[in-house]
């Protein structure tokens, strides 16, 4: 694994500068049904293809960002700071 992530602040950087934060998921409302919370807490889509992920630029700007990464090729299509 040696792909690059185009950090919106620092530019193209080695993946080893980043901490992986998992898939981007929508956190349920506090009183949402248990199934929804279970799904959110324990299930991962593990997309074969492009998925939206959290990355933290640990050895750079130390900011959380989101990236669209193709899990089969490790190509990072886009990386951005979430709104």
């Amino acid at each position: 694994m040696s792909f690059l992530i185009p950090c919106p602040h620092c530019g193209n950087r080695s993946v080893y500068e980043f901490r992986f934060g998992g898939e981007v998921k929508q956190r349920p409302q506090p009183e949402a049904p248990a199934e929804e919370w279970m799904e959110y807490t324990y299930t991962k889509a593990n997309e074969s293809g492009v998925q939206k992920e959290w990355w933290f630029h640990r050895s750079g700007c130390r900011q959380w960002l989101q990236a669209l990464r193709n899990t089969t090729t490790n190509e990072v299509v886009e990386a951005f700071f979430p709104e």
Partner: protein
């Protein structure tokens, strides 16, 4: 060319060997008369120089303690110590070569066939390890400083300094590109340096290249891997004095692979005898090192392919006895060196058998990058096709100019145990045939079953021949049989180079040297150095010292350096809101000047960290985290802040602040002498915090009690670390204050049943089962983990974190198993001898049914079991009165 006037010496097995400038270890040894360089992996057959290019396994030696060094490409240096490997007592007389007489006992897949029981492997392993194998690993720590890492970025990386690589680098460089050229030889020029009939080294072109400002040339460096994102692993030998190897992480936008082609041997009986040499090896000996490689040579070549080396041999004064076509050769004759070659029409005496083998594209890097290899009948080799974007090939590696040296698959294969395909692990044609007949007829399964292509040469010498044998035996074509996959590292890389220089960052607290003066015995906690305990004149053992420190805190007072705590300054209008969302406890209603403890959970309700949070002002909080979790907690807080638009600023002040904990019944009297702050319980109660000067230092004081006594945690600017520490020691002298270390602190907190998150808890621990239900405020509308915790609050616990006291004099180790009625029922997380109880006490996870007060449990101690009972209250001051005095 080796210079005969500039000589020096090195040692080989304790003997002095003379070398000339430009020599490699192997060329110097060859000139000195050595012909056997290694003994083979399995049968201990003598092996001599074959490729002279670092492609085969035949010359691996121990150089200055580093095993498996390829002598043929390692420059000789004055004073180096070279030793042979895998032979006893010597290379020339190796008693272990008796093994080859029993080769009939060692069929292909021997391990799978004989090691059918666990005991058979355990019984055989020590002997196998002695007899088989390669070099001996150096002692741990030896030479670990002799490697280094470097990072290089290039627009274009050109791999290979032969004619194609030079041309590519020059054109790119002249076009203004920033180019890094990697070449594995000491000088540029590739095969033109030793193939004198093929052309001259283009000196003008090299000079032109060197003059270009954007071109960097890395010599004596081979590329062992082409990874994702065009990251190249490059290993450079002896980049400068004192460093054996430098691992270069080379990142390029584009890669041009110009690695050329290498020659591989033919397969026939005894094709591994010393004296059997590839034509390019012969040319290297002659033209790079000025060595006459033998006296009488037989050349094996297809048609006119032997002309070039024949001319070189004659020029060097070697008699060329005859030339044979590859299919004419029957066997090599000789025991420790070739003495003759047996051909179909007679035997020819010789001391050198020169093989003009097939030239194979060195396409491993292209294959790793995702390129395919396709069989090309005309060239007699697998050629790279379908290269991925950003990677291109130039020169012989593309297959251009390659000529077929023999028919593949071969019409006839000599199936016997002495026709070697794989030299690394002694795999013969007979082994391959047997493997195929046993059902491993796919090239990839055949590889794994026979270990073909899996040795140190990574298939360079054997891949093509192995595919040929497989195709022949299965009746398939070369293309149908296909190639095995190339994976990095190829060729092999020393572990020392991957590990790099020993570089462990160490953090020292501002009071580090003051601890040294007090006799600190150090321990590592993550990057930090912390005093484990202090050795003084009054105590001789660790246990005695720790007990003295313990008594000081319980009876008088002690002082501990807690600067390693993670410290976060949290400011902003919405700071309370963020802490309410992330921590389980409530902070928005915390009054300024108060401290509250909390844990941090994930969405599954698992405890991630704990710490204290103080409120300094309406919009200002101060958080402490556990020593190792600072980065995680800061990132966690910032993560949950993303996208909220809340006004919160989190600043890591860990390095900027020192902290101490002054604790013990007399701490108030001592602290009073150094501060104006009113320390009475009425003015400064338990779980309160104040800003005040201590010994003239602006400080932040928290009245908390991890160790269970009245005490203050004092945070202050790091630059006053030693000053305040010494002032406190001085002020405490009259009360016999003792600095105390981690061990005493762990014992003190254990008596109080205070949990250390990450020591007493793990990735399955929630606050309820850990006995900390109070810390989860489920009446908050929302916080991270609330949903899971509200379910856990209702659920029956599976296991509980409980305290226990031993019933007898035994001290369980952390992690010891707990038995109830003979069945495994839990494990100890912390246990220490408690002076207060006169027995060991501890914390443990036990199954819920064994968690009740008074339950008798058995704990594994020293191979037996010892009795203990569950205690639900703290072992010391359960009401917490001493904290509030």
């Amino acid at each position: 060319m080796a210079d005969s006037t500039d000589t020096f010496t090195f040692q080989f097995n304790g003997q002095v060997v003379e070398a000339r400038a430009g020599d490699t270890v192997a060329s110097a040894l060859y000139r000195a008369g050595r012909r056997i360089f290694t003994r083979s992996f399995k049968y201990h057959r003598p092996r001599g120089l074959l490729c002279m290019a670092g492609k085969c396994p035949n010359c691996m030696m121990n150089v200055d303690g580093t095993p498996n060094v390829r002598a043929c490409i390692t420059p000789a240096r004055a004073g180096m110590r070279v030793k042979h490997q895998n032979a006893y007592p010597s290379l020339d007389r190796d008693l272990l070569s008796a093994v080859q007489r029993f080769d009939w006992l060692m069929p292909v897949g021997w391990y799978y066939k004989t090691m059918t029981h666990e005991w058979s492997w355990h019984a055989a392993e020590p002997y196998i390890r002695k007899v088989a194998g390669l070099g001996v690993a150096p002692e741990p720590g030896a030479g670990s400083k002799d490697y280094e890492h470097a990072w290089v970025h290039a627009e274009v990386a050109v791999i290979g300094g032969g004619p194609a690589g030079l041309q590519a680098a020059l054109e790119l460089g002249q076009g203004g590109a920033q180019v890094t050229l990697v070449d594995d030889q000491p000088e540029l020029g590739g095969h033109l340096r030793y193939r004198k009939q093929a052309g001259r080294v283009p000196a003008e072109l090299i000079a032109q290249l060197r003059s270009l400002p954007g071109v960097e040339i890395i010599s004596r460096a081979y590329c062992f891997g082409l990874y994702e994102g065009n990251l190249l692993g490059v290993l450079q030998a002896s980049p400068h004095a004192g460093v054996i190897e430098r691992l270069i992480h080379l990142r390029a936008k584009r890669v041009v692979v110009a690695t050329g082609a290498y020659e591989v041997p033919f397969t026939f009986e005894n094709n591994d005898l010393p004296g059997v040499m590839l034509s390019t090896a012969v040319q290297r000996l002659i033209h790079l090192h000025g060595i006459k490689p033998g006296h009488r040579a037989v050349i094996v070549a297809n048609g006119t392919q032997g002309d070039e080396v024949a001319a070189d041999l004659r020029e060097a004064g070697v008699e060329v006895v005859t030339r044979l076509a590859p299919d004419q050769v029957v066997a090599g004759v000789g025991s420790s060196h070739i003495t003759a070659v047996r051909a179909k029409d007679g035997e020819f005496a010789c001391d050198l058998l020169v093989l003009c083998g097939q030239r194979v594209p060195d396409a491993g890097l292209l294959n790793q990058a995702g390129g395919k290899l396709a069989w090309n009948e005309e060239r007699g080799a697998f050629l790279p096709v379908d290269l991925p974007a950003g990677v291109s090939a130039a020169g012989e590696v593309t297959g251009a100019w390659l000529v077929r040296a023999a028919t593949l698959p071969p019409e006839n294969v000599p199936f016997d145990k002495r026709s070697f395909v794989c030299l690394c692990s002694d795999v013969s044609t007979a082994d391959l045939r047997d493997g195929i007949r046993e059902g491993f007829d796919h090239i990839e399964t055949l590889k794994r079953y026979t270990t073909l292509t899996m040795g140190p040469c990574q298939g360079r010498m054997c891949q093509l021949a192995g595919i040929g044998v497989c195709a022949h035996e299965t009746g398939r074509s070369m293309g149908e049989t296909g190639v095995t996959t190339s994976r990095p590292p190829n060729p092999s890389v020393s572990l020392g180079a991957l590990a790099g220089p020993r570089h462990h960052p160490t953090r020292r607290t501002p009071m580090h040297y003051a601890h040294d003066e007090s006799g600190a015995v150090w321990m590592d906690m993550g990057e930090w150095k912390r005093p484990r305990y202090y050795r003084t004149a009054s105590c001789s053992s660790e246990r005695a010292c720790v007990e003295e420190e313990y008594r000081a805190v319980r009876e008088r007072l002690g002082l501990i350096d807690v600067s390693t705590l993670g410290k976060l300054d949290v400011k902003g209008r919405d700071a309370g809101k963020l802490l309410d969302k992330v921590y389980t406890n409530r902070f928005s209603d915390l009054k300024p000047g108060r401290v509250r403890y909390s844990v941090l959970c994930d969405e599954a309700g698992i405890m991630l960290d704990d710490g204290t949070i103080s409120r300094l002002a309406e919009d200002h909080y101060f958080i402490t985290t556990t020593t190792g979790n600072l980065d995680f907690v800061q990132q966690w807080l910032e993560w949950w802040l993303v996208g909220t638009g809340w006004d919160v600023h989190i600043t890591n002040v860990t390095g900027g602040r020192a902290a101490v904990n002054l604790a013990g019944p007399q701490s108030r009297y001592v602290l009073n002498t150094l501060t104006e702050c009113d320390l009475t319980t009425k003015a400064f109660p338990y779980m309160a915090c104040r800003e005040a000067e201590v010994a003239g230092v602006p400080s932040f004081l928290m009245r908390i009690g991890f160790v269970g006594e009245t005490g203050w945690e004092i945070h202050f600017p790091a630059e006053f670390g030693e000053h305040l520490w010494n002032k406190l020691l001085e002020a405490g002298k009259a009360f016999d204050l003792r600095p105390f270390g981690i061990e005493a602190q762990r014992l003190l907190r254990l008596e109080k049943r205070h949990v250390i998150v990450g020591v007493d808890t793990d990735a399955l621990s929630n606050p309820y089962e850990s006995g900390m239900a109070w810390v989860a405020k489920l009446d908050k509308a929302d916080f991270i983990g609330r949903n899971a915790l509200s379910r856990l609050a209702q659920a029956a616990p599976q296991q509980n974190l409980v305290g226990f006291v031993m019933n007898e004099d035994a001290l369980p180790q952390d992690g010891a198993a707990i038995l109830v009625d003979g069945a495994l029922a839990g494990r100890v997380t912390s246990a220490r001898y408690s002076p207060k109880n006169g027995k060991a006490v501890g914390l443990a996870w036990v199954v819920a049914k064994a968690a009740d007060e008074g339950t008798e449990i058995h704990i594994r101690v020293d191979g037996g079991t010892a009795r203990a009972r569950i205690v639900s209250e703290a072992f010391y001051d359960p009401a917490g009165e001493r904290l509030r005095m």
